[in-house]
Symmetry: C2
Subunit: 590 residues, 2 copies
C-alpha cells in the first residue's frame, strides 16, 4: 500500500491564493505573527511528521484492528509510539489555550492537521480528534475549577477525551437517553448507564480518558429538554490532579466494523461512576450541539481526506498500469500497451475524485474561516453573518463531502480493476473507512433534515439568501467562462428552494421527501461556485505553484461544470415529484 | 445477522405473470412437462434447501474466510457439508445434460438457482457457479472423448470447474496472455504460467478441479488471435476416468479481499501441467467469449441478489427500529418513538432498493428467455433476433445491475444508521461482497465499451433498434399511466444514441467518454419499460399473490418513474458535453 505525501501544494493554493489567509487574519486582527510562509511551514512539518509516523501504520491498523481484553483495549501496533511522538512534537497542543499549555495557533491549522491525520491514517485520526473536541467543549463550558483539573492533560494530549451520546435504543433520537445521574452531597454525581459506539472509549494511548456523557437527572423533564452533560474521568484525580483511583466505568466490548478498525469503538458501562456537571442542568444537549458545527466540519473533512488519498493512489496506478491501447492510436508504441490514464472512462473517474477533493477543500476551509470569524471578530454583524453561514453550510459539508467520498473511493477501487478488491493495495480500505463518515456525527438523512427542516425553513431568507448572495456577487464581479452556467444553476437552486418551502406548508412530509436530494443539489451548486473561484485564482495565479498546477485547476473546473454539475437536473426533477411517491405505500405493501 | 427467506412470490410474479413462462415454453416446444406449479415447487425447494443449509453459513464465511496451507485451500466451516448436500439433492445437476447424469431442467431454473445461491450466501455461490460455467463450455466445445471423461463428474458436482484467464500483467487486455502451451507427442499439451484471481482455483469441496486455461502455443500469432483454450485437471485420470495422479499445478496463495471471503481467489501456478486443447488452436478467446453472455448475466444477477438481500434485512429493521416521530404526528403514540419506516428518506432508500431488485429481476429473466430461445427455437429469425437482443442487453445487465447493487447495498447500511457499520448485522457485508460484481467478468468500464463501441456502433440499427422497438410496441399496445413518461425517455435515449454515434465519427475517444453514462441511461430506460410492464401485470393480476403484493408493485412503479428515472436528465446533459473535458488534461496536469 502506498504512503503518498499529502498534496501540500493544494492546501497552499486554497489557503493562500483562493481564500487569502493573510488578509483574513489581518482583518480579524489575530494570528498575524503567522505569515503564509510560516503557516505553510507548519503544514509541511505536520505532513512530514505524519508521513513518517502515521502513514506506515495505516494498512496494519486496518488488518490488526483493536483488541479488547478484560476492561482494556489495545490499539494497533505503533499507535502508542505515534501518539507519544505526536504529543511530544506539540501537535496535540497546536491550537490549545496557552493558559493551559497550548500553543495558541489558529483553528484553521488545526483543521488542516485533522485533514492530514485522516489522510495518512484514518483509524488513528479519531484519537487526537476526539480529544481535541472534548478539550474545546471544556474550554467553553466548564467551570474554572474543572478547567484547571482537566485542561492541562487534554491540551498536551497526555489525557484523551470522548463524547458519550448514543445508547442502544437511541442514536439520532437523543430525547430517549436514559443514562441516569444521581447528585451526591459533595456536588458530584453518580452516573449509571450504557453508552454504545463510543469512539476512543478505551485505549492504551493515555493515562486518563475524559468522558463527556449525556445523562438524565432524577427530576429531569422527558425528552431532549431533560438531558444534562457530565464530565466523567476514567481515573479520578488526587489533590495534585494526578490520576489516582479507577472510576467505576469501563469498556464492556468493542465493535467489529466494516472499517476504521484502528479506531476503538466501545460499549461503555457506567456503574455509579463519579462525574461533574458541565453547564446548567438539563442543558446538556444544547451544549453538545454548540460543539457540533466543528465536529461535523471535521467529519466532512475526513471524507475529503479519504477522497484525496484514494485519488493519489489511483493516479499513480493509472499512470503505471499498462492495459489496452488508446482509442486514438498507441501512445507508448514501444510498450505492450498504454497506461490506463489514456482511457476516457479512467479519466472520468480520476477527475471526479480530483474535482471533489480539491473543490471541497475550498468549501471546508471557507467554513473554517467562518468559525474563526465567530471566535475572533469584533464586528457583531460579521459574527452574526458568519454564524448563519456556518449553520447553513455545516449539514451540507458533513453530508455532501462524505457522500461524495463514498462515490470517489468507490472509483478508487474501480480504477484498480480487480486489484482494487485486494486488501494490500489499500484502495478498498478507503471505501470501507469512508463509510462511517456518512453515519457518525449524524447520518446524511439527519443532516438533510437539519438543512431543509430546521435551517432552511426556519431562517430561510437569512440562510440560503446569504450563500446565494455570495455566489451572485461573485458572478456579478468576477468574470469567468463558467459564470453563465453558475447563474443558471444558482437560479435552479433558488427555484427548488422556493418549491420545497411552499410544499412544506401543505404537508410536513414534503420536507423529508426532498431533503437528501436538496442537500446534494446545494452541495453541487456551492461546489460549482468554489470551482469558479478556483478557476479565477488559477487564472490570476501567483505563479508559485507551476504552470501545470494552475492549468490542471482550470481544466478540472471545466470538467466539474461539464460532467458533475448537471446532476442537479436529475435532483430537481425528482424533488418536483414531491412526497407522494414515497408516502403512498402502505407498510404492508413493501 | 438475519437469514430471511428469499422472495419466492416475487420470482413467481415475474416468471409467471410478467414473462409468462408457460407460453414461453409452449412456443419453444421444450420443458412442457414443467408447468408453473412444478416450476415454482422447484424454486421453493431450492430456496428452502439454501435457507436451511447456506444462509446460516454466510456470516461466518465472511469472518473466517478461506485458509491456504501448502498447496491446499480450506473453505469456511460448513461449506464441505453444504456442497455434499447440494450435490446429493441434485441441485448441481439441475440443467445438466441427461446423457451425462444431468436432470435436463431449464436454464431459467438454473438462473434462479444461481440467484438464490448468492442471495443466501454469496461467498458460496461461485463454487457451483464456476462449475456450471465450465461444464457448459465443455458441453459445447469439447470432443466427445473429453466430454466422456469430464462431464459426468462436473454434472453431478463431484468435480468442480474454474476459468483461468487473468495474469498479473493482464486482466482486461487478454491479448497480453503469455502462459505457454507446448504440444506433446500424445496429443496433450504441457502448460506453464501463472494465473491470478482464479475463483475456486483450489478448495476442499471436490476430489478434482477442472481448469479451463487460456494459453499460447509456440507458433501462435501475437495478441488476441494467438490464444488457445486448454482443459487442465488438477488430478489426471486413470483409464477408469478416476482421479489418479496429481498434475503439476497448484495454488501458490489466496487473495485477502474486501469481501466475498468465502470464495477462494487463487494465484495458480501451472508448471508443465498436462492439458487438453479445447476447440481449434488460436480460437480460445472466441470460445471463452461465447460463454461470456451467460457468465455476465449470472454476475448481473449476483448484483440483484445482493440488492434483494440488503433490502429484506433493511425492511425488517425499518419496521422494528423506533426512532423519532413522523413529521405528520405520532404513528405509534403508545411507543417512545415511531418505526423509522415512517420517515420519507428511509422510504426513499428502501424503495430504491426494492425498485432495483424487482425491476432488474424482470430484465434478467427476460435475458434468460433469450438464451433459451437461442438454445431451443427452430425459427432461425427468432434465434437471430434473440442473439442480437442478448448481445445488446448483456453488458447492460452485467454493469447496470451491479452498479445499482453498490448504491442499494450502501443504502442498506445507511438505513441501519451506525448499526449498519457493525459486522454482526450483515448489512456492510452485502456492500463489500457486492463490490466484486462490478469488477470481475469485465469491469463496468469494459461493459460500457462493449455496449457503446462494439455493439452499438457496429450493429446499431439491429441492436438498440430491437430493444427500442419492443418498448415502442409496448407503449403503443398497452395503456399504463407511465406511457407518456416512458415515451419521452425512450426518445431521449434514442437522441442520445444518435448523438454519440455521430460524435464517434469525429473522435474515437467520444465513445469511451460517453460509455458509462450511456450504459447507465440505457439501464434506466430499459428498467422503466419493465416497471411499466410490472405495473400492467399487477393491474391485470391473477390474484394469486394478494392485493398488498400487487398494490406494492404499482406503487413501486410510480416511485421508479418519479424518483429514479429522472437521473437520465443528468446523464444526457453530461454526455452532451463530449470528450474534451476528459481528454484536455495533460498527464502532468493531474
Amino acid at each position: 500500500m502506498a504512503n503518498i505525501p499529502a498534496p501540500v501544494k493544494d492546501i497552499q493554493f486554497i489557503a493562500d491564493e483562493v481564500l487569502d489567509l493573510a488578509a483574513h487574519y489581518q482583518k480579524l486582527g489575530v494570528h498575524q505573527d503567522i505569515d503564509v510562509e510560516t503557516f505553510m511551514t507548519i503544514v509541511d512539518e505536520a505532513s512530514k511528521f505524519l508521513h513518517e509516523h502515521a502513514g506506515p501504520l495505516n494498512r496494519n491498523a486496518d488488518e490488526q484492528g483493536c483488541r479488547h481484553e478484560g476492561q482494556s483495549v489495545q490499539t494497533p501496533d505503533g499507535f502508542v509510539e505515534l501518539y507519544k511522538a505526536y504529543c511530544e512534537s506539540g501537535w496535540a497542543a497546536l491550537d490549545g489555550d496557552e493558559a493551559y499549555g497550548g500553543q495558541g495557533l489558529s483553528y484553521w491549522l488545526q483543521l488542516i492537521l485533522g485533514e492530514l491525520n485522516t489522510y495518512y491514517c484514518p483509524g488513528w485520526s479519531n484519537y487526537p480528534g476526539l480529544t481535541h473536541g472534548a478539550r474545546e467543549l471544556i474550554e467553553h463550558f466548564a467551570t474554572d475549577e474543572l478547567k484547571a483539573k482537566f485542561l492541562p492533560g487534554l491540551t498536551s494530549g497526555e489525557w484523551a477525551g470522548t463524547m458519550c451520546l448514543t445508547e442502544p435504543h437511541c442514536g439520532t433520537d437523543l430525547g430517549l437517553v436514559n443514562t441516569a445521574a444521581k447528585p451526591n452531597d459533595d456536588g458530584t454525581y453518580n452516573v449509571t448507564g450504557t453508552k454504545i459506539f463510543i469512539t476512543s472509549g478505551e485505549h492504551d494511548l493515555t493515562d486518563n480518558i475524559v468522558h463527556l456523557v449525556l445523562a438524565r437527572l432524577p427530576d429531569a423533564p422527558k425528552g431532549t429538554k431533560g438531558i444534562s452533560l457530565f464530565l466523567i474521568p476514567k481515573m479520578l484525580l488526587n489533590e495534585q490532579n494526578e490520576p489516582a483511583e479507577r472510576n467505576t466505568l469501563g469498556a464492556a466490548s468493542i465493535e467489529h466494523k466494516m472499517g476504521l478498525n484502528g479506531s476503538a469503538t466501545c460499549v461503555m458501562n457506567f456503574d455509579e461512576a463519579k462525574g461533574y456537571l458541565i453547564g446548567n442542568a438539563n442543558e446538556g444537549l444544547k451544549i453538545m450541539f454548540t460543539m457540533m458545527n466543528g465536529a461535523r466540519l471535521n467529519t466532512g473533512i475526513q471524507g475529503l481526506s479519504a477522497t484525496q488519498a484514494s485519488y493519489e493512489n489511483a493516479l499513480v496506478y493509472a499512470k503505471e498500469r499498462l492495459q489496452m491501447r488508446s482509442a486514438t492510436g498507441p501512445k507508448l508504441p514501444e510498450k505492450p500497451a498504454d497506461p490506463i490514464i489514456v482511457h476516457p472512462d479512467v479519466r472520468r473517474m480520476l477527475l471526479t475524485q480530483k474535482a471533489f477533493a480539491e473543490g471541497n477543500r475550498a468549501l471546508a476551509y471557507f467554513a473554517g474561516q467562518q468559525i474563526e470569524i465567530i471566535k475572533h471578530s469584533q464586528d457583531q454583524n460579521e459574527v452574526a453573518r458568519a454564524d448563519r453561514l456556518l449553520a447553513f453550510l455545516t449539514p451540507i459539508i458533513k453530508a455532501f463531502l462524505t457522500e461524495v467520498a463514498m462515490e470517489a473511493t468507490n472509483y478508487g477501487v474501480q480504477i484498480f480493476g480487480g486489484h482494487g478488491y485486494i486488501r494490500e493495495h489499500g484502495q478498498e480500505q478507503w471505501h470501507r473507512d469512508a463509510k462511517i463518515f456518512t453515519l457518525y456525527e449524524g447520518t446524511t438523512g439527519i443532516q438533510a433534515l437539519d438543512l431543509t427542516g430546521r435551517k432552511m425553513l426556519m431562517m430561510q431568507k437569512g440562510q440560503i439568501g446569504e450563500m446565494a448572495d455570495i455566489i451572485q456577487n461573485f458572478i456579478n464581479e468576477t468574470p469567468t467562462p463558467h459564470n453563465d452556467a453558475l447563474q443558471s444553476y444558482l437560479d435552479m437552486w433558488q427555484e427548488t428552494t422556493s418549491f420545497i418551502t411552499q410544499q412544506a406548508m401543505k404537508n410536513p412530509d414534503e420536507v423529508g421527501a426532498a431533503s437528501v436530494d436538496y442537500l446534494m443539489m446545494s452541495g453541487y451548486v456551492i461546489l460549482a461556485y468554489f470551482w469558479a473561484q478556483l478557476h479565477n485564482s488559477a487564472e490570476n495565479n501567483k505563479g508559485q505553484l507551476g504552470a501545470d498546477f494552475y492549468n490542471g485547476k482550470k481544466k478540472t473546473a471545466a470538467f466539474y461544470f461539464a460532467k458533475i454539475l448537471p446532476r442537479c437536473h436529475a435532483l430537481k426533477a425528482t424533488i418536483m415529484t414531491g412526497a407522494d411517491p414515497l408516502m403512498d405505500m402502505a407498510e404492508s405493501e413493501f
